[in-house]
Point group: C2
Chain length 334, copies 2
């Protein structure tokens, strides 16, 4: 590999592509990648299969608290966990822009490898394409994932019932603010770190403890409001949040004021919202608080009978309906 | 949907994104898509699981014989088939460029849907991202796929033995020429159509007939030479092709002469190469010739003991080694 940037020829199926694969990509992914040429063949344990896909186009590629590689692993692992699945395997699709420094590619791949290791998942298949300069933005990553849903687990937003307690697994809105602050050079000191993390272990702990989880959703694009509105629509329940119970870090709240943004519209990448029966809420919180990534889990509200809306109830008792933004606010945060 | 092009807000997680999904993407995919929010949960039949991923960045998006949507389905279905798997499920990751006409998106999605229907696979999960104009090229698609490998099937390039017969499932090199001719305005009349197609039914027919298939490989980027070199390297066998037996259409041969390209370096997207024991070759060809997509299947050579090289033997008896191009020739053909 004499060149130190990605060239178009690296995607042409010839010797340079083979070199990129053998000298850069596979070594970076290490023992967790296996080199099946067409498709990986895997021994699946029993249970239903969960499949998901996510592409990542975040800008900048590297940001406080993470980078596109960690994000791609966490995002897909979390999507599997939200279905109650145990994440097992990832595929990795890279779209590289001509001119990308190979050093950046190596850093991203090292992050993919480290995050996969931490999450206990294996990268089993991959693909690399190269596009001309001006038709990409460094690296776009698709991670698709497969996992197994244990027998007896049936997590569905339709299962939410009036009376269910809504839990937040930690502080909300941080990832979106971290990206925006990095991109807009807000100069926050210290910088707000992304919350990018896997929540799969926390979900597994809940299920292992026998908590009757009705629904799970990770508040990514669109933030907590978008996630909750989907749960409200699916279940036909009104979801009422207690304003003073919503966990938002002070630095995130401050940055949101500067940006004119509601933290509940800002994405997380290492958090989830859960609906559990009221008589399981205390146990659920105890379980979550015993797992590092969800140690700050709290109850934030309840599902009640009514129209499928998301409501913020202020300390004064005033209720405000939270609505989905049109979507212009936060492009390319994941 | 008042706008008729993709806007950044279509990727923001808000109302516009929900509209794109509900009004354009899901209707286009029709009954073969199911709307799992995070991950699809599937009842997997018994057998080993095959997983694969492929991103598609072909330019132009629409070309004689296909488009990026059909290609994305066929490419991934074929990767599964090459592992001996029965393709079952696809995931669909879209990276849209701001400004893409929605009409183009609808056409691509209609192709995805039609191709999935033809192949008997279901699109079970999806994701859509939007990047700014000048950071994409209309549509990039990732299709990841899952399938099941029947018990007893063990297709591995390492299984090739000296004496095995090499089969080509049809004419070679057509897709690469179709794309290049479309892009370079070669003005071939009639235009060379891509061979984009699923070969899964043909592979299933081979396996169902009890043919002891040793190895399968689809000659995509890098063409037949790249695919055969991988088989040679994996098996340690010398692969000798009989020049006059190699099936190349006249129009493809003519275009390759204009382009200064060896058809064996040009990609196919609906063909495969197979290695079978000599005493199974006749049956294998009969089976393939009974399936429409592989009706022109022929034997093109043999594996012999020797160094792992790919050899073209001319009618004169002269042998020439075929080597992988560096890779500059054919960017973004898939």
């Amino acid at each position: 590999m004499t060149t130190e940037v990605v060239r178009l020829a690296h995607g042409g199926g010839g010797r340079l592509q083979a070199g990129l694969l053998d000298e850069v990509i596979l070594p970076a992914l290490g023992a967790r990648a296996c080199g099946a040429p067409d498709a990986a063949v895997l021994d699946a344990p029993g249970g239903r299969l969960a499949l998901t896909t996510d592409s990542f186009v975040v800008r900048p590629l590297f940001f406080p608290g993470g980078d596109i590689g960690r994000l791609a692993v966490h995002g897909t692992v979390n999507d599997l966990a939200m279905a109650g699945a145990r994440p097992l395997w990832l595929t990795l699709g890279l779209i590289l822009e001509e001119g990308l420094p190979l050093e950046d590619l190596r850093r991203v791949l090292a992050s993919v490898s480290a995050a996969a290791e931490e999450c206990g998942v294996q990268v089993v298949a991959g693909d690399t394409k190269v596009v001309e300069a001006g038709h990409g933005d460094g690296v776009y990553i698709n991670t698709s994932g497969a996992g197994v849903v244990p027998d007896g687990v049936g997590i569905e937003p339709t299962a939410i019932r009036p009376g269910d307690v809504l839990l937040a697994s930690g502080d909300l809105g941080r990832h979106g603010v971290a990206i925006l602050a990095a991109r807009e050079n807000l100069g926050l000191e210290p910088p707000v770190p992304s919350d990018s993390a896997s929540v799969a272990a926390a979900v597994a702990a809940l299920l292992d403890a026998g908590v009757a989880v009705h629904a799970l959703r990770d508040p990514t694009r669109g933030g907590a409001v978008a996630a909750l509105q989907e749960l409200a629509d699916a279940s036909g329940c009104r979801l009422v949040l207690e304003d003073e119970a919503i966990p938002v870090r002070e630095d995130v709240r401050g940055a949101c004021e500067i940006l004119g943004l509601d933290p509940l519209h800002s994405a997380c990448e290492g958090r989830f919202l859960a609906a559990v029966p009221a008589d399981h809420a205390e146990q659920a919180l105890a379980v979550l608080q015993s797992v590092p990534v969800t140690r700050d889990a709290v109850a934030i509200g309840r599902a009640v009978a009514g129209d499928p809306a998301v409501i913020r109830r202020l300390a004064t008792g005033v209720e405000r309906r939270l609505v989905l933004p049109a979507g212009e606010q936060l492009p390319r945060i994941c």
